[in-house]
Subunit: 181 residues, 2 copies
């Protein structure tokens, strides 16, 4: 849960990062940045700021802004009916993204948030810089972490059904609650 | 048909425009910019420069750079088997794009390339600036033209099968031929 003022401050900070990365967004879009705390109540440690540019029944385009060292929790995109699950490509625009996917443990630059060892099982680390991208197949577990300078990235995907995503941490609720101050 | 040196010069010019628009592309990507003359042999009038960032069986992301007043010919994305046709969203990054789609004629800023009146039937004009976007449903005829300053835009779409696109001009061949000098 976030207070309204925390939420708006994080929105504004993320919109500024997105614009500094060179992406042009409208003022209306800037106000639609979603601050996701995944129901954990510590969004600057585990969270993400997400702006949906496009979401149809076939494709979705989002901008994800991560604050310095912010971690987007481990999750996957499950099969939904005839959809084998969301296929997602992450392309970095600014900063450095540490991506964790299935593979032999080689984590060196990043870290698992304190006390959350059981909720981050993928330990194969890829370091992605601006202009670099990775495609995540449906069902593939993954999590992301920004390096010290924060990061902005695109998410290009097939249809997004975020509320149906699976999360390793059973405490996660995908929808952020906002507390009136 | 273009000579190799014309092709490379147009590639380099387009890659520079893309980078000036704020989009980070790798040197490898810069060399993959496609210069499309649509087989018409007058690419600076009717043509486009296209960089495919991502193309899977489900989605495609491309950057389209148009030189000043360059026109991307009228076309549509037809049904292919069970695919109802490519759904495409154009989002402008820099410059101004004149988009022509079905609707009552209101063309004022743009123009049909000289002598090509029969090959550009959509005359409903939308003026798109950076941060603005339009979604083209499958099968919808459309063409684009950059204003005087040129333009860079994203194309976000379902699976792309460019060689199966339909073109109003029957002389068009989608694949550019390169003539060795």
């Amino acid at each position: 849960m976030l207070t309204k003022s925390e939420y708006v401050a994080a929105q504004n900070r993320a919109a500024a990062m997105i614009r500094e990365s060179g992406i042009c967004i409208t003022d209306e879009e800037a106000q639609k940045v979603e601050v996701a705390d995944f129901g954990l109540g510590r969004f600057e440690v585990e969270g993400a700021q997400i702006l949906t540019l496009l979401a149809t029944e076939r494709i979705a385009v989002k901008i994800v802004a991560l604050f310095p060292n912010q971690t987007l929790p481990e999750h996957w995109h499950p099969r939904v009916g005839e959809d084998p699950g969301k296929e997602e490509t992450i392309r970095v625009v600014s900063g450095t993204v540490r991506a964790y996917v299935p593979g032999d443990e080689n984590m060196s630059d990043g870290f698992v948030p304190a006390g959350q060892e059981g909720n981050y099982k993928m330990r194969y680390e890829l370091i992605l810089k601006p202009g670099e991208q990775i495609t995540l197949e449906p069902g593939m577990k993954h999590w992301f972490q920004a390096a010290e300078e924060g990061a902005v990235m695109y998410s290009f995907s097939s249809v997004a059904r975020d509320v149906l995503d699976g999360f390793t941490n059973p405490d996660i609720k995908r929808v952020t609650e906002i507390k009136e101050a």
